[in-house]
Amino acid sequence: MALLTSPLPWRRPSVLSGSRPGISPLRRLGAVVAVFCALLGASALAAENANQKEYQLKAVFLLNFVQFVIAWPEGAFPNAEAPIRVGVLGEDPFGGALAAAVESEKVGQRSVVIERVARLEDIGRCHVLFVAKSESAQVPAIIAASAGKPVLTVGDMTDFARRGGIINFYLEGPKLRFEINRTAAERSGIKLSSQLLQLARLVGPPVSSGDR
């Protein structure tokens, strides 16, 4: 096969033989568009899962927060083997992710269990409380109910930490971040690792005594 083809004049083309039979290309383009419409159905399914990844990630972050508590105040647990209770208050956004995250995890000798919290009075039973977005109107009441108790309050609403929550999730571009209200942490008596504090954005007035 020669390397050089079209520019040379003696390779004259044959008489044009008319157009090619079959489905016209534009009809076929229409078929392709129809495939897209079918895929739209699939994308509706996909849209439901848009949040899944975010909450799967938050579930693993929550597990990390528990692991980064250096010390719980005296009396937070009845005994040395009592489990760490993680409560979810409001409409649970995690699906199975939080249960999957804490499954067979141990912090020291303590296992981690998930509980649904329905009433403000039950907040005190938890060591970690995740406040769902559905409870945004109740935040002041929730903060008041957990005041002075060893409850690590975690949320993902806009000013959860500024309003007194201890840890709050936020998005920076496509990545997940969290902020910590150190005053609220101090008041709860929970000692957080300095590693965790270094990774967080700090909210609220700084405390005079360092905990490093």
């Binding site: 848009a50 975010e54 496509p174």
Partner: protein, 658 residues
């Protein structure tokens, strides 16, 4: 998950699928994949993701992207050129198995497959099998044959999984690109060795890509010194003639290569890379073509400040091509390139550079045609300078530049251009450019004789000059949100001194190559990138093109005006990338190319579909169907019985990282 399949099948017509595909393995594999997807969707769920996140440290968790905002590099928005980009991830998702298939994803390019290994690829018109107006670079090395200033696409390959991105600039390249960047520049960049650590194994089997396998391993030689090595092999089936007969142009190639990157904590970067390949291509009427080549490239860069950099690059490139029945070529190229960028004052940015290229080309001529002189050594020198000035409170950036090139045929050529980008509101840009570009002569323009012995029917082009282009371009870009971006580019190209075949002065004498034609082209390129949801991304591209050429006064060539420009007046591209639950994905590429009138290549619409599944994080399985809408279709070539047509194909592949 079965439903999109069923809809597609019934729409496309059951009779189309009672052709080759339904009886082949292809359909069974596809159905198997679809049912696997369905089962995969039912299983899985939250547990798998969470388990993989638990393995990360807190700092690593903070690096995970929850919403994948489209990674459009800032520079693209502010470029005063019509540029489109595909990332390595998009190339992988589209199931491209070689570079031309990856180039199909860029809608400002014209990509036509001629046969099993030859492609006609250009931008903005004047496409033919020896198209000479496009510059293609792979990691800074020009993929270029001085025989006709084009690309032998069968010999250009790399480890596709390690491609970082491919940029296609349509229109005359900015002054710093090499020679022959007349209609466009394709810049293929591979990832640095630091970003390709670990092992990767790929394999596939199918109907057109009969078998292929590749492996890559990356590691560290010392702190800060990263390397990778790869090897790959591919065996491709032949295409068919219009009548459906085997065209007997099957081929296979093996290739290996390496890359070493060294980045010191301060400002130096050093890269060394090389490849070697070897292949055989069957021919219908003669023995196999043999190709082989080796290249070695080194690049040193120093960053003095964010605006001030110096880069020195050098490479050697040896290729051999033995075509039984035609020429044998041994080519060696040495290239040295320097670029220096520095700010001057506050608002002025200056860049200059120089290139030296040496070529040693030895050709053994057959009987039917010949290059005289057969063995040549030639040198090219070029330098460029351009300055960039921002004004109007950083909203307007104007660039003026010039490239001076000394080539062995026509001496000194002068290529100036001026470009501007205006930032109109935060997310909109207008840009414009006026450029002059030259397509300098290559060996085919001056030195081609046919037959090899006198009396000649074609006696070279003794006074062939550079082809000239004056290009006017205007474009607009808008990116109102991370979800979508639109770009529009319009152009008017005025060509002069295009190649023509003229009878010589003496009657009965040979034809000579001369510059007897003028040409013009104009059109528009539109590209829309739309992220429908976090998991579904769409891209639309449309290119409208009108190309024409006429004889200059005194020219007697009446055929070249049509045979030089084998371009469709419109082409469209639609791409969809959809991530589904349970780590599956459906990726779709549809393209429409209108008729090439002169060669009677009918308009066609084609569809590529890829289904993939990641059962575990390290392994990906995929089934790709290509050119699914027709059992076979032509894309290029004169309307003769021997014209090759591209068949529908399917292949199954896996990618394993370790």
């Amino acid at each position: 998950m079965i439903s999109p399949f069923v809809s597609w099948r019934s729409l496309a017509g059951a009779r189309k699928l009672t052709g080759k595909l339904s009886s082949a393995v292809g359909l069974r594999v596809t159905l198997l994949a679809a049912s696997a997807l369905a089962m995969g969707a039912a299983a899985g769920g939250a547990t798998f993701e969470v388990a993989s996140y638990k393995k990360l440290s807190l700092a690593q968790l903070m690096d995970v992207e929850v919403t994948s905002v489209s990674r459009r590099p800032e520079m693209l928005v502010d470029t005063a050129s019509a540029v489109q980009l595909v990332t390595g991830e998009e190339i992988h998702r589209a199931g491209a198995t070689n570079l031309p298939q990856a180039l199909r994803l860029l809608s400002n390019l014209q990509v036509a497959q001629i046969d099993s290994r030859q492609w006609a690829i250009t931008a903005r018109g004047f496409n033919n099998s020896t198209t000479n107006k496009l510059l293609v670079l792979l990691d800074g090395r020009a993929l270029y044959t001085p025989l006709y200033a084009g690309v032998f696409w069968d010999a250009q390959d790399t480890f596709l999984n390690d491609i970082d991105r491919i940029e296609a600039i349509s229109g005359p390249g900015a002054t710093q690109w090499g020679s022959n960047a007349v209609n466009g520049v394709i810049n293929i960049t591979t990832k640095s060795a630091q970003d390709t650590q670990g092992g990767l194994l790929t394999g596939s089997a199918g109907t057109e890509l009969r078998a292929s396998g590749g492996a890559r391993y990356g590691g560290t030689l010392a702190p800060g010194v990263f390397y990778r090595v790869y090897g790959k092999y591919a065996e491709r089936d032949s295409t068919v003639t219009a009548a459906g007969q085997d065209a007997r142009d099957a081929w296979h190639v093996s290739q290996g290569g390496f890359r070493i990157d060294w980045a010191r904590a301060t400002a130096d970067q050093l890269t060394l890379q090389g490849d070697a390949y070897q292949g055989r291509i069957a021919q219908a009427t003669a023995d196999d073509i043999q190709i082989d080549g080796t290249n070695l490239l080194g690049r040193w860069g120093r960053t003095f400040s964010p605006q001030s950099t110096l880069t020195v690059q050098t490479y050697f490139d040896y290729t051999h091509r033995i075509i039984p029945g035609s020429i044998t070529e041994h080519l060696g190229i040495f290239d040295l390139d320097v670029q220096h960028r520095l700010p001057v004052g506050d608002v002025f940015d200056f860049m200059w550079g120089g290139t030296y290229r040496f070529m040693n080309d030895r050709v053994r001529n057959p009987v039917s045609l010949a290059f005289y002189p057969a063995n040549v050594k030639r040198e090219w020198f070029s330098g460029f300078a351009h300055g960039e000035r921002t004004m109007l409170d950083n909203r307007l950036r104007v660039t003026a530049g010039v490239k001076l090139e000394h080539n062995p045929y026509t001496g000194l050529e002068f290529q100036p251009n001026v470009r501007a980008v205006l930032k109109w509101r935060e997310h909109q840009r207008f840009w414009g450019a006026i450029s002059r570009a030259m397509r300098t002569p290559s060996r085919i323009d001056r030195e081609l004789f046919a037959p090899a012995a006198p009396p000649y029917a074609l006696a070279g082009g003794p006074s062939f000059e550079s082809e000239k282009l004056l290009a006017y371009e205007l474009g607009y870009r808008i990116e109102p949100s991370p979800a979508w971006a639109l770009s529009l580019a319009t152009f008017y190209h005025d060509y002069n001194d295009l190649r023509s075949l003229e009878p010589s002065a003496t009657p009965g004498g040979p034809l000579l190559l001369a510059n007897g034609l003028r040409g013009k082209s104009y059109g528009a390129e539109v590209n829309l990138d739309y992220r429908v949801t976090e998991r579904w991304r769409l891209k639309f591209g449309y290119t409208a093109l009108h190309v024409s050429s006429t004889q200059k006064p005194g020219s007697l060539d009446r055929t070249s005006i049509r045979s030089q420009a084998l371009d469709p007046h419109g082409s469209a591209l639609v791409r969809s990338q959809l991530d589904l639950p349970a780590h599956t994905a459906i990726d779709l590429t549809a393209r429409y190319v209108s008729r090439i009138a002169f060669h009677n290549v009918p308009a066609y619409t084609e569809l590529d579909l890829r289904l993939s599944w990641r059962p575990v994080e390290a392994l990906e399985l995929a089934v790709t169907g290509r050119n699914l809408l027709d059992a076979q279709h032509p894309e290029f070539g004169a309307d003769l019985p021997a014209r090759r047509e591209i068949e529908r194909s399917v292949n199954a592949s896996f990618t394993w990282r370790f």
